[in-house]
């Protein structure tokens, strides 16, 4: 126990927790995005897919608990590291511009807050139904179509997914490096893989609200 405590007390320990939970969430997101694309196959396919997931019963709750635990650990380590990092530079430079850091890396913290807000809204929107105008517990396809009638909701999803894409571009790259899993290289492969994961997840998730808005899906 004390070894685990000491690990968690270190900046690398917290970063490793952030990386492991982050990469688990990336895996979830890839699956979630691919599953959602069945919206384009048709209402039957989508509703059957949803019913299949619901039919797993306890297993579904295990997965949900795992995702929640990952999200909580991810956010707690992110918040603690951010506080440590801020405290390490109490006085800033009068003149300083970032030389090489990407926009993605510099928006991890604010982007994370946007994503946290998005996750709360999204679960209230399509899982619980509190933020949904006409929620049905069996008609997932219809929920999505009706849920994206509001241009404000569509806009929020589009913005949140752009933020997610940026978060993933830095996160998927950074997480692999944090865990020391990459091969040393000046032009590393995992940077390109991170880019393609970010683009695929962003495009796959963005396509649905946009298609509903443009009435390609109805």
């Amino acid at each position: 126990m004390s070894a685990l405590r000491r690990f968690w007390a270190s900046t690398i320990g917290k970063k490793v927790v952030m990386a492991v939970t982050g990469l688990l969430l990336v895996l979830f997101l890839i699956g979630h995005m691919l599953g959602n694309l069945q919206m384009f196959v048709g209402a039957d396919a989508m509703n059957r897919y949803a019913a299949l997931i619901k039919s797993t019963g306890e297993l579904l709750w295990v997965a949900r608990a795992g995702l929640l635990a990952a999200a909580v650990l991810h956010i707690v380590s992110a918040v603690q590291l951010t506080m440590i990092n801020r405290a390490a530079r109490p006085a800033d430079y009068a003149k300083r511009e970032p030389a090489v850091s990407t926009i993605a890396s510099r928006t991890m913290r604010v982007g994370g807050v946007v994503l946290a807000a998005f996750i709360v809204f999204h679960i209230g929107h399509f899982t619980v139904g509190t933020f949904h105008p006409a929620f049905s517990h069996t008609g997932v396809y219809g929920n999505v179509i009706l849920g994206f009638r509001s241009p404000w909701v569509v806009l929020f999803y589009v913005i949140a997914m752009a933020v997610l894409g940026l978060h993933l571009f830095h996160g998927a790259w950074s997480g692999v490096r944090t865990l020391g899993l990459a091969k040393p290289s000046p032009d590393p492969l995992h940077r390109k893989v991170a880019l393609w994961i970010a683009i695929a997840v962003w495009a796959g998730f963005t396509a649905i609200p946009v298609a509903v808005f443009l009435e390609i899906l109805r």
């Binding site: 270190s10 320990g13 590291l81 390490a88 009068a94 030389a99 090489v100 020391g180 990459a182």
Partner: protein, 266 residues
């Protein structure tokens, strides 16, 4: 100015951080720097400005320096927002005024980090780096006189890796450039240097754990992989070193080696 200088003299405006001592609040002060030769090094330019300050009865600008050949790591200035100034792979002492244009304004600030408190003006206390080294950045076994060059065979790739990381001069540019004021690149360079060699193996895990914990204790931030440190490093230390440090640290934590080593030596 002597006519022997190659380029025409430059007239510059300096904005310099002045701070009387550790407790003083400090502020940016503007100084003219007229008739500067493009052949001067950056520190010679500061020397020239200081001579004039002394002549007019003012306190000269304090800054750290020693070898002025880019090998000791003493100099360290934030120049126009870049650690060691605009030239890549170059320390402030090896930077020349030809990198600037006549009429330029130059902002000169000390390294900024909680773990590097300002002593005076542009001089900061980098003792935190010494304490990270003291925590484990060494090999404690007496190794005697140097052995024959090939007495202990080391793979070329390992020797290169150790050499690349040994290039770190401990100047602190990585901390200065990092938005988190993280000492990860410095600490990782030391861990990777010794960890690549056979002599470094017995203490490898204990070293990683002790140095990382000391680094945290000193109040440096964590690594966010912005990559600013690698860009600022005058010796070209690679971010890859940080991967090695994380691997060694995780392994050491997983096997909780430190307690065992202490028990053995007790």
């Amino acid at each position: 100015m002597s006519a022997s200088t190659a380029g025409a003299a430059m007239h510059l405006t300096l904005h310099v951080w002045r701070q009387k001592g550790p407790k003083d609040a400090g502020r940016m002060v503007q100084y003219p720097a007229r008739d500067i030769s493009p052949d001067m090094s950056f520190l010679e330019m500061l020397d020239t400005v200081n001579e004039r300050l002394v002549e007019s009865g003012d306190e000269p600008i304090a800054f750290d320096h020693d070898c002025r050949e880019g090998i000791c790591g003493s100099c360290g200035l934030m120049i126009n927002g870049s650690a060691h100034g605009p030239m890549k792979l170059t320390t402030a002492c090896q930077l020349h005024m030809r990198s600037f244009k006549d009429g330029d304004s130059i902002w000169i600030e000390p390294w900024r980090a909680k773990a590097f408190p300002v002593i005076k003006d542009l001089v900061v206390d980098r003792g935190a780096f010494d304490r990270i080294i003291q925590a484990g950045g060494f090999i404690s076994a007496p190794t005697g006189t140097p052995q024959d060059a090939n007495g202990l065979p080391i793979a070329k790739a390992d020797a290169d890796l150790a050499m690349d990381n040994a290039a770190c001069i401990g100047c602190g540019a990585c901390v200065a450039a990092c938005p988190n004021a993280s000492a990860s690149l410095f600490t990782a360079a030391k861990i990777s240097h010794l960890g690549a060699l056979p002599q470094g193996q017995p203490e490898r895990k204990r070293r990683a754990k002790a140095m990382v914990e000391r680094m945290d204790l000193e109040g440096f931030g964590g690594c966010t992989l912005f990559g600013e440190c690698q860009e600022a490093c005058p010796k070209g230390i690679s971010l890859d070193a940080i991967m090695q440090m994380n691997r060694d640290y995780v392994l050491a934590s997983a096997t909780a080696v430190e307690e065992k080593v202490h028990a053995d030596s007790a």
